[in-house]
């Protein structure tokens, strides 16, 4: 979008809802906001119907800060908890059929590339572990094999939270869930390994314990997808309801799980590494030049 498009015509500014005015005057568009600024600007996502203490919601808020061009970002999602928050974000959101995200994102990204030759449009898939590793698995894998240039972010709460606690492919082996009454019979799917095999340019495993790292990782993934190829972030976003994590202990759980089995990992393909190192050098050079 252009700033001109979203500005109110003279004389009408005062009649727009306060929230719209705030988004224009002090929002996240046309500037890269930082995590350290949280609380001092109008966020893309504020009110939402997610459960109290939900780690997924925190993660999604941080994603909106990480996106490098929020005003040129479109999110594809699917059924599940995450979309309850994402639909409340001030960014276009495609709510498709369950499991269709990476196929829809393929058509969307290719279509936007045809229409907007000089303006990068970032397409981001943000969906749950069930939506991406189970029902949407084939679409995810083939979008990676085809090297589609968009980012896939898995909100991995290791359960079908929205339908009431059934095991997904990303649930840990042995967990007793609503459709695994004697415990889940097979290991948590290695989506990061599959992503690497499929030729994904950049993958990251992350828990929302370090907000700045979350925002930076998301920014990195979106920029690499824009220039190099598909990127994938697998984020631990616990379900405090289905895993019975007391609300005040949600971040303690995230830290424990991170330490135990979900530590931060990232992988760059050779092309992605070259691109990222060069773009970082350029960013530092510009920063130095700006200081002089």
């Amino acid at each position: 979008m252009s700033l001109k498009t979203i500005q109110a015509a003279p004389g009408f500014q005062d009649y727009l809802p306060k929230e719209y005015q705030d988004l224009l005057e002090d929002g996240p568009f046309f500037q890269q906001r930082k995590v350290s600024e949280l609380g001092s600007f109008k966020e893309a996502l504020e009110e939402h119907p997610m459960c109290a203490g939900c780690a997924m919601t925190l993660f999604i808020r941080l994603c909106y800060i990480g996106f490098p061009s929020l005003e040129h970002t479109v999110i594809c999602g699917t059924a599940g908890c995450g979309r309850l928050a994402i639909t409340q974000g001030a960014v276009p959101f495609v709510y498709g059929n369950y499991g269709d995200t990476n196929a829809v994102a393929t058509g969307l990204k290719r279509g936007l590339e045809i229409r907007f030759k000089d303006q990068p449009k970032d397409v981001v898939v943000m969906a749950g572990d069930g939506g991406l590793a189970d029902i949407g698995f084939h679409a995810v894998m083939h979008s990676w094999f085809r090297k589609e240039k968009f980012t896939t972010i898995m909100l991995d709460n290791e359960v079908y939270g929205n339908t009431g606690g059934q095991d997904s492919g990303m649930t840990q082996k042995g967990m007793v869930m609503k459709m695994a009454p004697t415990g889940k019979k097979f290991e948590k799917m290695d989506m990061l390994g599959l992503a690497k095999t499929a030729g994904v340019a950049y993958t990251a495993r992350i828990a929302p314990t370090n907000p700045t790292r979350v925002a930076n990782t998301v920014r990195k993934a979106v920029l690499i997808a824009r220039e190099v190829g598909p990127t994938f972030i697998q984020a631990y976003t616990s379900c405090n309801i289905e895993y019975a994590i007391p609300t005040p202990k949600v971040m303690d759980d995230a830290r424990d799980v991170e330490k135990d089995r979900y530590g931060f990992q990232e992988y760059f393909s050779d092309d992605a590494k070259t691109y990222w190192e060069e773009s970082e050098k350029e960013r530092k050079r510009l920063r130095r030049a700006a200081k002089k």
Partner: protein, 379 residues
Amino acid sequence: MIHVLMSSDYLMLEAPREKEFITGSEAAKEAIRRANVDIAIAYPITPQSETMQQVGYLYAEGYIKDYYRGEEEIGVMSAVAGASRAGVRVLTATAGPGLMRGMEAIVSWPGARLPSVLLVMCRVVNTPLAIQPDNVEISYLLNAGGIVLHGENQQDFYDFPLAGFMTGEKPEVTLPVAVAVDGFFVTHARGWVNMPSEDLKLPPRNCYHEAVPMMDNENPPIRISRDAPIQKSNFISYQMHASWQQEIWAAQERAKKWLDRWLGGLIEIVNPKAKTMIVASGAAVSQSREAVRQGEEQGLDIGLIKVKSLRPFPGKELDEALDHADRIIVPEFNYIGWLSKEVKSAIKRSDRVVAGPRVFGGMTMPTELILETITGIKK
């Protein structure tokens, strides 16, 4: 040198045409050559594959901006939904079991108001698995919410896709269009097709003149996006969903005037005063035309109505055109007889309808079968 036309009318109604003797697949290719398609997404299935291969050659020649083979039909039909949301003109095609596989995505297109063209080359869908002609799959499309056209021959497979793009993209319509033909009879056989020069093509899709915003983030930011779930359990949500569905079917009605304009009417009538009328769509029309001719040789006065558009269904037009008829014969290439049910529900005195003859599972429809149904005399 390609001339992008300012008006769709010129290509459909005014440009001088020349005849070529080509297959249905080639006719569809020639339509797509002139349709200014931005992206085509393919997946192989008999008897459709050849058409999307031909469309691939158009991409290689530079007529289409993007083209790829998707992973399977759910992936393809979902990608069509993504591309249409991006505001580009998008094409795909499928057949039989492929249509069934893609159906979850296909039925979501009208509600999302996604103009596109889906070519359907009908074949058997049910077990035992076969690739033979049978158009039972159209019955599933009839309740999907999109526009459904049924072509009789190679000429229709040239004209209908172009009319489909133009109609579906009209602001007051904003719907996907399926163009079905009977596989093999149309796709793999040759027929005469009248076409304008190949250096003409339709104006591009004008996506900002449609019923819903594009998902391109060129709109003012709002909290609830266009595709927000209407899943809350309250009466406002129910009302929203109900009125949204009503609007889809109202948009179909609004498509009628454009289909009238570019297809020369939703129906075609042959020998309109005959007391015995045949109503048919697709390849059954060709067989019925021949039955009418043979009947005339035998001194039988038989009329024929070709139904070109199944959605919107020309119920009022059929009711008026059949008001005088004593008997109405509905020959079909499927077991369940979906067209006869449609006709019965649209006309007065539906006991005049003879629901048949019907062939299925790959059988051909001899003209004698239609005449026997009319005369009641088996030879």
